[in-house]
Each structure stands twice: as structure tokens, then as C-alpha cells.
């Protein structure tokens, strides 16, 4: 299983695009927002928590269809399925690799983009904490969605239709955590709830993803 994780990470680094693209997307998305709503710093500061979370979410979504697609096409998935590694483990490792290549860089980049959007000072630690605790859930849910749609040609759009509604609770609590911190309120409760969703998603969704993979590999 560790070997699978290493393989995915190596592929992401050597083949390019793994780390860079979603970060670039996050940057572009955040840059576009002031063009849409105007450069008034007050408005930007007010919407910054939601925009940053939304940007992270969309950046995650963008790379989902690659989680299983390439392995599916070149037959790696069939080989792993016949190997002693359980598919649940594969799904968990894929989610972890996706998080390391997209979620983790997003967490690191978020404070810089927060500066661009004039996010108030006390919100920064909460922004990083909520993203660090919330993006694993996004990766786990996304892996499940990718497993559902892996057998479908041009399934990218369908994947977003399936996955985005599942992202709603994470987005609500994550953005609420940052927004509360930005306005000086207590942000612990939403942060704990984000962590709870992540814990639940990590515990249960690899099983659902593996079930979907088994159907697709039949």
C-alpha cells in the first residue's frame, strides 16, 4: 500500500501537473474574484473566507477525474485488483495521494491568497486549520466520485454533478469557521464539525469507493 502511495506521488512529481496545476487554478480563481466583484477591500475582506474555501474546493475538483482514469486505461487497476492489496486500501491510498498533491499545497498557499483578498488578521490560523482538516474530506469524497465514474467516457462533467452536492457540508462548516474567526467570533465549533466530517469520510468512503471500483472492474 505504501508502494502504491509512493508510485502515485512519483508519477505526480515526474509527470508534472500534479502539484502545480491545482495551485495555479487556485491562484487564478482568487485573482479573478476582484475583477468580478470590484476592488473595494471591505467587500473583499467580507467574502474572502467563502471565496478561499470555494477556490480550494474547485481546485480539488479539477484533478479528481485523474485519480483512477489513467490506471483504468492502462490496466493498472485490474492488476491491483488481482493483487493481495484490498481495493479499500487502494482507494484510501489514492485519496491520500490526491490530498498530498492538491490539498496540502492548497493549505500552504491559502494564506498568501488570503492577503490578496484582504482577509482579516485573526482568521489566518483558522483558515489553515480548517483547510488542513477539511481538504482530506474533499479528497475522500472525490475519490468515491472518481470510482463511480471511472468506467464512463467523458465522465468529468458527471463527476462534478455527483461530487459537488456531497461537498456542501464540508464547505459550509469550513467557510463558516474562517468567517467566524474573521469577525472575531469563536470558530472552534465549525472547526470541530469539519474535522468530524473528515473523520467520517475517511473512515467510510474508501469502502464505498472500493464497492464502486469492484462494479466497474467486473
Amino acid at each position: 500500500m505504501i508502494g502504491l502511495l509512493k508510485r502515485d506521488l512519483t508519477l505526480a512529481i515526474r509527470a508534472g501537473g500534479g502539484f502545480g496545476l491545482s495551485l495555479a487554478f487556485f491562484l487564478i480563481f482568487t485573482t479573478l474574484v476582484p475583477f468580478g466583484v470590484g476592488p473595494q477591500t471591505q467587500i473583499l475582506a467580507e467574502i474572502a473566507p467563502g471565496i478561499l474555501w470555494l477556490g480550494a474546493l474547485l481546485a480539488c475538483l479539477l484533478s479528481l477525474d485523474r485519480i483512477f482514469q489513467l490506471d483504468w486505461e492502462d490496466g493498472t487497476l485490474d492488476l491491483v485488483a488481482t493483487s493481495p492489496v484490498p481495493l479499500e486500501g487502494l482507494a484510501a491510498m489514492k485519496a491520500l495521494a490526491h490530498w498530498i498533491t492538491t490539498g496540502l499545497p492548497l493549505v500552504a498557499a491559502a494564506p498568501v491568497l488570503g492577503l490578496l483578498l484582504n482577509l482579516p488578521g485573526p482568521a489566518y490560523p483558522w483558515l489553515m486549520a480548517s483547510l488542513a482538516l477539511g481538504t482530506p474530506a474533499l479528497s475522500a469524497i472525490g475519490t468515491f466520485g472518481a470510482a463511480l465514474t471511472v468506467g464512463i467516457k467523458r465522465g468529468g462533467l458527471l463527476l462534478s454533478l455527483l461530487v459537488l452536492p456531497l461537498y456542501i457540508p464540508t464547505l459550509i462548516f469550513g467557510a463558516l469557521c474562517v468567517a467566524r474567526a474573521a469577525t472575531g467570533q469563536d470558530a472552534t465549533t465549525p472547526l470541530v464539525l469539519v474535522a468530524g466530517i473528515t473523520a467520517g469520510a475517511l473512515a467510510l468512503l474508501p469502502f464505498a469507493a472500493a464497492a464502486a471500483l469492484r462494479v466497474n472492474l467486473r
Partner: protein, 243 residues
């Protein structure tokens, strides 16, 4: 010995549903006509809401059935996953568009009522928003059915989606309560209250409620029969090609 699982046999299901279909459809028609005519023309206007109160006869039953349709899909999906009865999953497939339309009716009538009463077509209220999310879940479920060619794979994958989606739908519901205060009034109907609404409105509402329930059953039976026939047709065409 007879048991519920007999109806997993498509032939038995077809025979029973052929008998039930005209009855449920007839009862639905009678209930809907009676309830709606009674409700629309023979109940007084509300002293605050005026005649807009009468939208309740469409709005409340549609909303209740929208949720129950998803619940039915969840139950039939679980039955498919556990016992592999094809009729069960076809019923879930058949129920999805019906539930989606009920969701849409509830949203649309709510908007029509909200405009004169709340002064807005739409409000990001937890109830309204969760219905919008339910609508998205229906869309995703149906889109997944459409996208997969192999019927058994489609049945399996949509069932898994329905299970996971149900969990997330419930979480979303509570997340939304956390996220925003509601403008929507409380439940119109609860079992633990002595009187929910004035009896004048209560009787026609119960009748329309029954009407929507039977309408849902009739539509699902009808659509399931269509799905089963489509399956048979596909099998026949495949046979023909093999021969």
C-alpha cells in the same frame, strides 16, 4: 407461504401491478379532484395570508412526497444491494424522476407563495436550500443511470450513490440549520400536536395528501412496468441477434 419477496418475481409483479395500477390511479384522481376543488373553492381565505394560503394543498403534499420518494429509493436500493432483486432497483430508477418533479413543484409553489408573503421569490433558508440540494441529488442520481450502459453496473453504482447521498443529505440538512436562520414556518403536519392547522384547511389537506401519495404510487408502478418491459424488449432483441 406467501411473502413480500414474491413480488421480486417480475411476472408476479407485473400481474399484481396491472391489477393495482387502475385502482391507485383512480383513487389518486378522485382524491386530488375532491381535495383540490374543496381546498381551492370551498375553504375561506386566511385572515393574514388571504387566498395565498390555498397553495398549501399543492405545496405541502408535494414536499412530503419529494422526501418520501428519496426514502423509498434508499430502501429499494438497499434491497437491491442485499438481495439482488431487479424489480426493486427498477422501482428506484422509476421513482427518481417522479421525486424530482415533486421537489420542483414544492420549490416552485413555495416561490410563488413567498413572493407576496415574504416579499421574495427565494431566500437562503435551511428548508428551501435543503430542497434545492435534494433536487441536485435527484439530478445526479438520474444522470448516473443515464451515463452507464450496462444495466447491472448502473444499478449497483446508483445504489451506492443513493446510500452515500442519503448520508450526506442528512448531514447537509443539519449543516444548513447551523449555517442560517430559517424564515420558513415550522412543520405543517406533526403527529405529536393536537391540532396542526384549523380543521377548515385540515380535511382537504389530508385528502390531497392521500391523493399525492396514491399518485406517486401509481406513477412509480407505471414507470416500473415500463422499465421491466424495456428490459424484456432488450433481452428479446439480444436473443434475435444471437439467433
Amino acid at each position: 407461504m406467501s411473502s413480500l419477496w414474491e413480488y421480486a418475481n417480475p411476472r408476479k409483479f407485473m400481474a399484481t401491478s396491472a391489477f393495482l395500477l387502475p385502482w391507485t390511479a383512480g383513487i389518486a384522481a378522485v382524491c386530488l379532484v375532491t381535495g383540490l376543488v374543496w381546498g381551492f373553492f370551498f375553504t375561506p381565505d386566511d385572515f393574514r395570508q388571504g387566498s395565498t394560503v390555498k397553495i398549501i394543498y399543492v405545496h405541502v403534499p408535494a414536499a412530503i412526497m419529494a422526501i418520501n420518494a428519496w426514502f423509498m429509493m434508499l430502501v429499494t436500493s438497499i434491497i437491491w444491494v442485499i438481495r439482488r432483486h431487479h424489480v426493486s432497483v427498477l422501482a428506484a430508477k422509476a421513482a427518481a424522476p417522479v421525486g424530482m418533479v415533486f421537489t420542483l413543484i414544492a420549490l416552485a409553489t413555495g416561490a410563488l407563495w413567498g413572493q407576496p408573503m415574504w416579499g421574495t421569490w427565494w431566500e437562503w433558508d435551511p428548508r428551501l436550500t435543503s430542497f434545492l440540494i435534494l433536487f441536485l441529488f435527484y439530478l445526479g442520481y438520474m444522470a448516473l443511470w443515464e451515463a452507464i450502459e450496462n444495466p447491472d453496473s448502473a444499478a449497483d453504482l446508483t445504489s451506492v450513490l443513493c446510500l452515500v447521498g442519503s448520508v450526506f443529505a442528512v448531514i447537509s440538512r443539519y449543516a444548513l440549520l447551523f449555517w442560517n436562520q430559517g424564515l420558513h414556518q415550522g412543520a405543517t403536519l406533526s403527529l405529536d400536536r393536537e391540532q396542526n392547522i384549523s380543521n377548515v384547511y385540515w380535511y382537504p389537506l389530508v385528502i390531497t395528501l392521500a391523493g399525492f401519495g396514491f399518485l406517486f404510487i401509481a406513477l412509480v408502478l407505471y414507470r416500473t412496468r415500463t422499465e421491466i418491459r424495456a428490459r424484456r424488449l432488450k433481452a428479446l432483441i439480444a436473443q434475435e441477434r444471437m439467433a
